[in-house]
């Protein structure tokens, strides 16, 4: 397999900062799975996923001195609530950036850890072609699009999600090599999370009750147990396969569903709080955008020096997919 590197990340956060008084009374004092962050961002009503990616990617390309027209051979997108139900926004993004990718892949799986799913696919595609550069784009826009509805925002899970966009540039290079990626699918858990309306209609059927995204109630205990175990297992596995020790990880970045999972994961891996970077209290659950956004945040805070060992990990939805990756920074 070709040596492939994650050269850089950039993020865009929507302007609108939403505080806890927007949600049901008592949201700020809730604990457990539905612990509310202090703030989170919501996308503006007319703001599209393509708008968000354009902002983040334009900055990334400038910072990395890349030319969209020449350097992006593969373009990946993953959007939690797609602009169009029937297709992804990759083609529009390519057009707006002036890129001419040979492959556009609009992923609709991998959820909160789809950044690693895209990273793995980029590595595989580069290994079997002469493609040299890939742009990975994650958009989380469910907070403003779903959880801001006057009825839905009163639900207990509504304060948790927050919107944002994170993008990463991957190149066939040994500047910041990916040491390993592991992932696994658990199809048996795929139906434990759904988008549903109170009146029982499907999302494509007409009706007036709003759509919400939720865990199926009867599976909550199983989902918590699974979430607690699955991420530390994946991080340990990628370390084992790359022949590095868990304690040698300089920084761990995971998806950030809630502070309980974050606490349990770092405890299970025996990593100090300082070695596990998150932005939950500011941005809430960023779904798939958490990995690139938190990575940029950590870099900005100077938490990663040259040569540092970075571990990325997480699980998606109710546990239908989990992945971890190790990167040696340049």
């Amino acid at each position: 397999m070709k040596t492939v590197s994650l050269l850089g990340v950039a993020s865009y956060l929507p302007e609108r900062v939403v505080t806890n008084d927007f949600f049901a009374a008592g949201a700020a004092t809730r604990k457990g799975m539905f612990t509310a962050p202090t703030t989170r961002r919501h996308v503006a009503p007319g703001e599209s996923a393509a708008d968000m990616i354009e902002k983040a990617a334009t900055r990334l390309l400038a910072e990395q001195r890349l030319r969209a027209a020449d350097d992006i051979d593969i373009l990946f997108t993953n959007v939690s609530v797609p602009d169009q139900a029937f297709t992804g926004c990759g083609a529009e993004v390519a057009h707006r950036l002036g890129a001419r990718p040979r492959w556009i892949v609009d992923l609709h799986n991998g959820g909160c850890v789809s950044f690693l799913h895209m990273l793995e696919l980029a590595r595989l595609m580069m290994s079997s072609s002469d493609a040299r550069g890939a742009l990975l784009c994650n958009v989380q826009n469910a907070a403003g699009r779903v959880f801001s509805h006057p009825e839905v925002r009163l639900e207990s899970q509504a304060p948790v999600p927050g919107d944002g966009c994170g993008v990463g540039f991957v190149a066939a290079s040994d500047a910041a090599p990916i040491l390993g990626i592991v992932h696994e699918s658990h199809g048996g858990f795929a139906r434990d999370m759904d988008a549903a309306a109170r009146d029982g209609r499907r999302y494509w059927e007409p009706g007036t009750s709003p759509i919400t995204i939720r865990f199926t109630d009867e599976r909550v205990a199983a989902i918590i147990d699974r979430g607690n175990r699955i991420v530390p297992e994946m991080v340990r596995r990628v370390c084992r396969e790359a022949h590095v020790r868990v304690e040698d990880i300089d920084l761990l970045i995971t998806n950030q569903p809630n502070p309980i999972f974050l606490r349990n994961w770092r405890e299970a891996l025996e990593l100090s709080r300082h070695k596990h970077h998150d932005t939950f209290d500011r941005y809430g659950n960023l779904f798939g955008a958490a990995l690139p956004i938190n990575l940029e945040d950590a870099l900005r805070e100077g938490k990663l020096r040259a040569g540092a060992l970075l571990a990325l990990g997480g699980f998606s939805h109710a546990g239908d997919y989990a992945a971890a990756a190790l990167i040696r920074l340049g």
């Binding site: 809730r30 604990k31 457990g32 799975m33 539905f34 207990s156 909550v220 918590i224 607690n228 175990r229 530390p232 309980i260 606490r263 349990n264 994961w265 405890e267 299970a268």
Partner: protein, 226 residues
């Protein structure tokens, strides 16, 4: 408070009189504490891993399924001389001055005193022990034998062994009885989970082997001249 028969005569099902709990704070009961609030507490309390000290710092409980009927496990455990077989280092047990108390030697020829308190009906066997003296037996090993058929729907027994951290574990109350330079049993508390697990595995292996091979339960002893 009416007697149960009286309550029954009055008809209906018994319900809690709220006055009985009104002044007790901190109770978590569904009447005042909804499922969501309970869920918050439960997730806060549930970790993926627990530090050894949090789990075993104050009480060590080990347990094992033993493929042997409960009555037979009870008989074996209720005989204190079985300790000669399944413990790592309790040996040479003989009657001490106090009736019902045996004295033997433990690691490093330390005197160990044991009183066995067994209850056949409850299937409990407790060993009240101490190093160096038999007047205050403060190292108490609580054992409960549970019919596996009842709790696991399988034959055999479950042995649950608990040991609580008596304050004497932290400081030898009778240092004058100790030989100079000897380690104190309580210094080994952090390793009691391992030690008890190993000894319980001995118990399981001995009891199962004899039951499986139709041998007397034991202990198998022979007379020795001191």
């Amino acid at each position: 408070m009416p007697a149960p028969e009286e309550r029954e005569r009055a008809g209906g099902v018994p319900a809690v009189d709220p006055r009985g709990l009104a002044s007790i704070t901190g109770l978590v009961r569904c009447e005042e504490y909804d499922r969501e609030a309970l869920g918050e507490q439960i997730t806060e309390l549930t970790h993926t891993v627990y530090p050894h000290h949090d789990v075993y710092g104050q009480i060590v409980t080990v347990h094992a399924h033993v493929d042997c009927p409960p009555a037979r496990v009870f008989d074996y455990m209720a005989d204190p001389l079985s300790l000669l077989e399944w413990t790592y280092s309790v040996r040479e047990l003989r009657p001490a001055n106090e009736p019902g108390v045996l004295v033997g030697v433990d690691a490093g020829r330390t005197p160990i005193y044991v009183r066995t308190v067994a209850c056949r009906e409850a299937l409990t066997v407790d060993y009240h022990c101490a190093w160096d003296q038999g007047d205050e037996l403060w190292m108490v090993y609580l054992n409960r034998i549970v019919p596996a058929e009842t709790v696991l729907k399988r034959p055999g027994s479950v042995v649950i062994w608990s040991n609580l951290r008596h304050p004497y574990y932290d400081a030898n109350p009778f240092p004058e009885l100790s030989k100079p330079g000897r380690e104190w049993v309580g210094d080994w508390w952090p390793f009691f989970y391992a030690g008890h697990t190993i000894e319980l595995a001995n118990l399981k292996a001995i009891v199962e082997y004899r039951y499986r091979n139709d041998l007397p339960p034991g202990p198998m002893l022979r007379a020795v001249t001191p």
